[in-house]
């Protein structure tokens, strides 16, 4: 995911990773280890964001247009489909 982001951030991609249930320390260490440069936020254990987005399994990914409309979504990391959706939005 970092690779995808590094490659496409200058082409207009924003990536927000919403964590489920881990502590701030755990996430901070993980960011350090992985050298992640995208936004990572804490959704909490019972955060409403998971319910709002209908997330029942991890990872779940959404691709949104600049107005926040859903262009693609799926469970798992289906890189081919994600890239295709981003390409439709001019990010390639």
């Amino acid at each position: 995911m970092q690779k995808l982001y590094s490659e496409l951030k200058d082409k207009g991609l924003e990536l927000i990773a919403i964590n489920h249930g881990d502590s701030a320390d755990t996430i901070t260490n993980y960011i350090k280890e992985g050298h992640f440069t995208f936004d990572i936020v804490m959704g909490g254990e019972e955060g409403s964001v998971f319910k709002d987005y209908g997330v029942q399994a991890f990872p779940t990914n959404y691709v949104l247009d600049p107005d926040g409309k859903v262009v693609w979504r799926g469970v798992g990391f289906d890189e081919t489909s994600i890239r295709a959706a981003l390409e439709k939005l001019g990010v390639k």
Binding site: I18, V41, Y53, V63, G68
Partner: protein, 270 residues
């Protein structure tokens, strides 16, 4: 995989046993295990009442039911509320009957003594899992009397993870008819006590008790799909503003400003 819901605790134990490494030798424990193996081998059929008490964090749940087994691999287990399941195996096909006239179906796992019962009840030292357990050199703790019954108790402490201790209670018939498991996976500690009572060894149980044909009206259960509730394509993604580990906030509205596409990823580490 499907059975995991019905036998959550039983499956957890499979994990424990497979994670076991060697501990120190204990002759009394080894001798007792041999007796258990012999007694288990002599069981052609068995009926009993079962109770499983599970404590996860502060939540306690007790389920009760009845168990019938018959060699080879025939099982009929009825579990009451709140689980409400009936498990029937004719030795080839395993059916799990669920509320709402639904059922699951799967081939019976091959190998000696499939471990159908939760909590390693009727533990068989000669099953695949049992063999691993025997390698772990369990410790003999002595006798313990529970509800008027005296058991000889074996303790197992597999290395972390998962951090767990398991006690097998061997009854006067040399069968493991009570087990206690304490598990701490770093989240909510789990304690499970499983026990058989009203045990009858080698009663006459008709083969018909282990046969099941789903009625035409019954439905094959399918797992609810994990993407059923996702926001549909074309709809607006719900707004959010969430904290970063460093203490600032990221909102969907702000993050997308001046971008061509926004990817939102949901993940967890542990």
């Amino acid at each position: 995989m499907r059975l995991r819901r019905a036998f959550l605790s039983g499956c957890a134990l499979l994990g424990i046993v497979s994670a076991m490494a060697s501990a120190r030798a204990d002759e009394k424990a080894d001798a007792l295990l041999k007796q258990v193996a012999a007694a288990r081998k002599a069981v052609q059929s068995l009926t009993a009442d079962i109770s499983v008490n599970q404590q996860v964090g502060s939540q306690v749940r007790t389920i009760t039911g009845t168990v019938k087994i018959k060699k080879p691999d025939m099982v009929h287990i009825t579990i009451g509320a709140p689980v409400n399941r009936t498990i029937i195996s004719d030795g080839k096909t395993l059916y799990v009957l669920m509320p709402g006239n639904q059922y699951m179906k799967q081939p019976v796992p091959t190998g000696p003594s499939p471990d159908f019962l939760p909590g390693n009840l009727l533990f068989d030292p000669q099953s695949a899992i049992g063999a691993k357990l025997a390698e772990s050199k369990p410790r003999y703790l002595g006798t313990e009397t529970v509800a008027g019954k005296t058991y000889r108790v074996l303790a197992l402490t597999p290395p972390a993870p998962p951090s767990a201790t398991m006690k097998l209670y061997v009854d006067a018939n040399n069968l493991v008819t009570r087990t206690e498991t304490d598990m701490n996976n770093g989240q909510a500690p789990l304690k499970m006590v499983a026990a058989l009572s009203n045990i009858k060894i080698n009663p006459n149980v008709a083969v018909a008790e282990f046969q099941y044909t789903p009625p035409a009206t019954a439905k094959l259960y399918t797992e609810p799909s994990v993407d059923a509730n996702l926001v549909p394509v074309g709809k607006a993604a719900p707004a959010f503003s969430l904290p970063t580990p460093a203490g600032s906030h990221v909102s969907l509205a702000d993050a997308g400003k001046g971008k061509k596409a926004i990817m939102v990823n949901f993940w967890f580490y542990t």
